[in-house]
Symmetry: C2
Subunit: 113 residues, 2 copies
């Protein structure tokens, strides 16, 4: 049976930021951006065990940055857009919070004429 994936890609920005904070996981995302890869193929250039890579992939999957499917004995990893959208949304929301505030400040200053 496939392992259960908790909270799969459901817009939890904290989880995504945590995932992207790790340099090895960013390296994996770099590779996956060029095309799908098996776990062992991903592991080759990284200097860590296959187990460690599988753990990283699980993290990426849990936060919606990657998707995987197992065919035969090979698990193939693809990049997943959901995690990227989560980050973009978080950024957009927070940016608007303070730009709105700056806009109101600008309005106030404009009224001073």
């Amino acid at each position: 049976m496939e392992a259960a994936i908790p909270n799969q890609g459901r817009g939890d920005a904290g989880r995504v930021f945590d995932a992207l904070g790790d340099p090895t996981r960013r390296a994996i995302i770099d590779r996956l951006s060029q095309g799908p890869q098996s776990v062992s193929h991903l592991a080759r250039p990284l200097n860590i065990t296959l187990t460690a890579v599988a753990q990283h992939v699980a993290v990426l999957q849990a936060c919606g940055l990657a998707r995987t499917e197992k065919v035969g004995r090979v698990r193939t990893c693809h990049i997943e857009e959901a995690g990227f959208r989560t980050v973009e949304q978080w950024i957009a929301e927070h940016r608007s919070l303070w730009t709105d505030r700056l806009d109101r400040l600008g309005d106030l200053l404009a009224e001073e004429d």
Copy 2:
């Protein structure tokens, strides 16, 4: 003398993701999005020491998510756009990597007619 701020906001995506991975720091960013705050004001609702908050602010500053200035004995923290741009840029670059690939794939499929 002002503390030296290493590597201030110079486009290191890893640093920014690391910073945003921590829930307390995201809470601080939330508050700063509504307007500038002193360190002790930031500390009030968080259930941690002033020292801890100051450490978080230092991290946010080091990765370009916040800017601070000290007037008298009060250090006021503002949000800083640089860190946000760093993240957006990282996302944009990586997204383009794989959408380009999908485009080429689409072209290939289109040629099959």
